[in-house]
Amino acid sequence: MDIPYTVHPRADTGLYNAKVGIWLFLASEVMLFGALFSSYILLRVGAPDGTWPHSVLNIPLGTLNTIVLISSSITVVLAWASLKLNNFARYRVIQSITLLCSLIFLVIKSFEYRDKFAHYQVVQKDGKYVDGHLTGSVYLDADKKTREEHGFRGLSFTEGPKGAQKKFTLESVTVNGFEAKSLAEINNPKVGVHHEHKDFKIAAAQIKKIGNYGPWHNTYMAIYFTLTGLHALHVIGGALVIGYIWGPGAAMWKTDPERYINRVEVSGLFWHFVDLVWIFLFPVLYLL
């Protein structure tokens, strides 16, 4: 006996197997992202006044990525429709745009990530904050000789071959950004200080705490990285599957076209779901 309903729908449910499978899988994905969204709401509602950051992210880039993802969603359905019309060549072209979109999305996302890792917040000993992009840092070696770095390598670091390692300690950092009196000021984009960007050179002796906007920075950054990271993994997974069906898997179009169309449809359903998650992620993380 072979497994039935792999291609044609079963009479009483009206569905073929993979269709049931993908919707079940998506149901579990809804629970996964639902739990993360619930956590987001909870952390946000629970955050004391002034501690939840706003406008940390790059809105134009986020908007662009939203449009890229929406576009990839329309190409996925159009590609499927082309197959329904028996036009394989057009399917190939349209679906390649989908793949391109997913690539663009990921590249933009990685730029955004990199930006956050270069975005520093310095708490000075006098209680004032400096927030902005770290443009360079100066280190001293044992003989007080200085050495300039493009990034930040911690309060000290060691370098060199084993046995002859040299220790470098931080002398100062340069941050291009603004100065603020409190966290609340930094977190409120409407306060004037945000618009007065300039270079601040801060001596190591002045620094009480320094750190970038990685996930460890605060719970907002934590949930931002977790949600978008998980979403990006879904984009990668979806693109791999769609790419496989589009490329090496396309031989099936000749041998079993109906099943091939089903595959395109099912992978498309997954893709739309990924788009759907982003539709919520974008306003929630970038705008609110």
Partner: protein
């Protein structure tokens, strides 16, 4: 399942394109609303989530063909939505219902 004959497919394609345009417009409005600074925070949140929900409805309804799906799928999704709402609502409720006369703190202020 929608679209089986070529004619129907052509019709659906037009529908998809309309949805696509609606999605782009929705995105533009969302971002626009952010820049014009609505009078209250509550309103900003409401507008953004409302538009997001409409967009989600369009994607799920038309691109994913949910508006003409089989009963079985609806059943699965109704149960799922019920549980997500339960998870979200009950968790948030429990964290904001404190025993009387206890000066408990909310998340993050402990």
């Amino acid at each position: 399942m929608s679209a089986t004959t070529p004619d129907e497919v052509h019709k659906s394609v037009r529908k998809y394109l309309a949805v696509f345009i609606a999605l782009i417009i929705g995105t533009v409005i969302t971002v626009g609303a952010y820049y014009v600074h609505l009078p209250s925070v509550a309103m900003t949140i409401a507008v953004a989530l409302l538009i997001a929900s409409v967009k989600a409805f369009l994607v799920a309804g038309f691109f994913m063909h949910l508006i003409s799906e089989k009963k079985m799928i609806y059943g699965i999704l109704v149960a799922t939505v019920f549980f997500v709402i339960g998870l979200c609502f009950l968790t948030i409720w429990s964290m904001h219902d404190f025993p009387a006369n206890m000066n408990h703190s909310v998340t993050g202020q402990m």
